[in-house]
């Protein structure tokens, strides 16, 4: 059982880091299916915890060819844009979200859709907690639709990416989720 976000945020920083539930490659390989019947409203998803450094930011800039200096040129960020430090990329956050949903729905579910806003400036050294909470459940077309609130919260409880998502979990006695994914009809 994952610790609740509320309880996690009461912990000292070094203890928050010990509650990271990001899956290893082997855990992802062997992950057992969570079925629609296994979940309930209010249930919290595992917490993915990150502690980015300037090197992580540089690696992301290089990987996606994002040349915005606020992410790797500290002098520019401080003196030109008047930022408090290098800034964590919004593009990285928005890429973690579908990864997080993929991992939770594996091996046979589907991370259908998500939307989120970008708030707050995140900086190296922040502890970032990717979280999700079930807000609604609907069975439709032989699929289990799960609505979620999600976000990426700092160790201080500042929500940097409030959002929502809808993912699909298979039913225990239901058909396979189609791939490529075809949404259920209204």
């Amino acid at each position: 059982m994952s610790i609740s976000l509320e309880e996690l945020l009461k912990l000292p920083e070094e203890e928050i880091l010990t509650h990271n539930e990001r899956l290893t490659g082997e855990q992802l390989r062997n992950k057992k299916q969570t079925f629609f019947e296994d979940v309930h409203e209010g249930m919290e998803l595992p917490k993915y915890i990150y502690h980015p450094t300037p090197t992580h930011l540089f690696r992301w800039s290089a990987a996606i060819e994002n040349f915005h200096r606020i992410h790797y040129d500290l002098d520019f960020g401080l003196n030109h844009d008047k930022n408090p430090a290098l800034l964590v990329h919004g593009s990285w956050k928005q890429s973690v979200a579908p990864q997080y949903l993929k991992d939770w729905t594996l091996p046979k579910g589907w991370p259908w859709k998500a939307s989120f806003e970008h708030r707050a400036m995140l900086v190296p050294g922040d502890i970032l907690i990717m979280w999700g909470r079930i807000t609604g459940l609907q069975e439709k077309g032989g699929m289990g639709l799960v609505d979620l609130d999600l976000g990426m919260t700092t160790q201080d409880g500042i929500e940097s990416m409030p959002g929502t998502a809808t993912v699909v979990l298979p039913l225990k006695d239901g058909p396979d989720i189609p791939y490529p994914f075809v949404p259920p009809r209204d």
Binding site: S95, S115, G163, Y179, P180
Partner: protein, 183 residues
């Protein structure tokens, strides 16, 4: 909004809603090296991205790639175009490294004198994981432009650009919507 404050949602701005760009073929293809760099930077160790034998046993039947990866691959600077970074710094030695760097598939600018740009949010719909070797195609469209009024009574715009990503089989991979605030 007071009578003295002019609306930012002018007829010229409204006319941009629905304007689409051309379907652009992204340079290169989906490949293992880009995938390795992307997933390592994302810190996603999923063997579905690199273990071909295991990937064949999954519902996808092959190596997959993160859905949103295509949005970064698609806007890579082509090797046959002028180096936009060098040009950006020639034009402005204080360039932020991104503002004047032209990317393929860009839509015509929205005709507004509101120049400050802030990221307002993103939406993502996922239909298929891109496959290794896929050619990528994308098309941008202004899907929505709305006006809001700030705390000090000044109007600002929320501009949403929708991008549809497809492969060479015309299969929709994902649809993204990026909203920016223009103040």
């Amino acid at each position: 909004m007071t009578q003295e404050t002019q609306s930012a949602l002018t007829p010229e701005v409204q006319a941009m809603i629905g304007v689409s760009g051309e379907v652009v073929e992204a340079w290169g293809d989906v490949n293992e090296e880009y995938l390795r760099r992307f997933t390592q930077a994302l810190m996603d160790p999923d063997p579905r991205y690199w273990d071909e034998e295991f990937a064949k046993s999954t519902p996808y039947g092959e190596i997959i790639t993160p859905p949103i990866m295509v949005s970064y691959m698609a806007t890579r600077i082509r090797p046959d175009q002028e180096d936009p970074i060098t040009r950006a710094f020639l034009e402005d030695p204080e360039s932020d490294g991104i503002g004047r760097v032209e990317r393929p598939g860009a839509l015509p600018p929205v005709p507004t004198n509101l120049v400050r740009v802030l990221n307002a949010g993103n939406e993502l719909e996922i239909y298929k994981y891109p496959s290794i070797g896929d050619k990528l195609f994308f098309q941008n469209r202004y899907s929505d432009i709305r006006e809001r009024v700030g705390r000090e009574g000044q109007p600002f715009l929320i501009i949403t650009t929708e991008t549809t990503f497809t492969n060479e089989k015309k299969e929709v991979l994902c649809i993204t919507r990026a909203s920016t605030i223009r103040r």
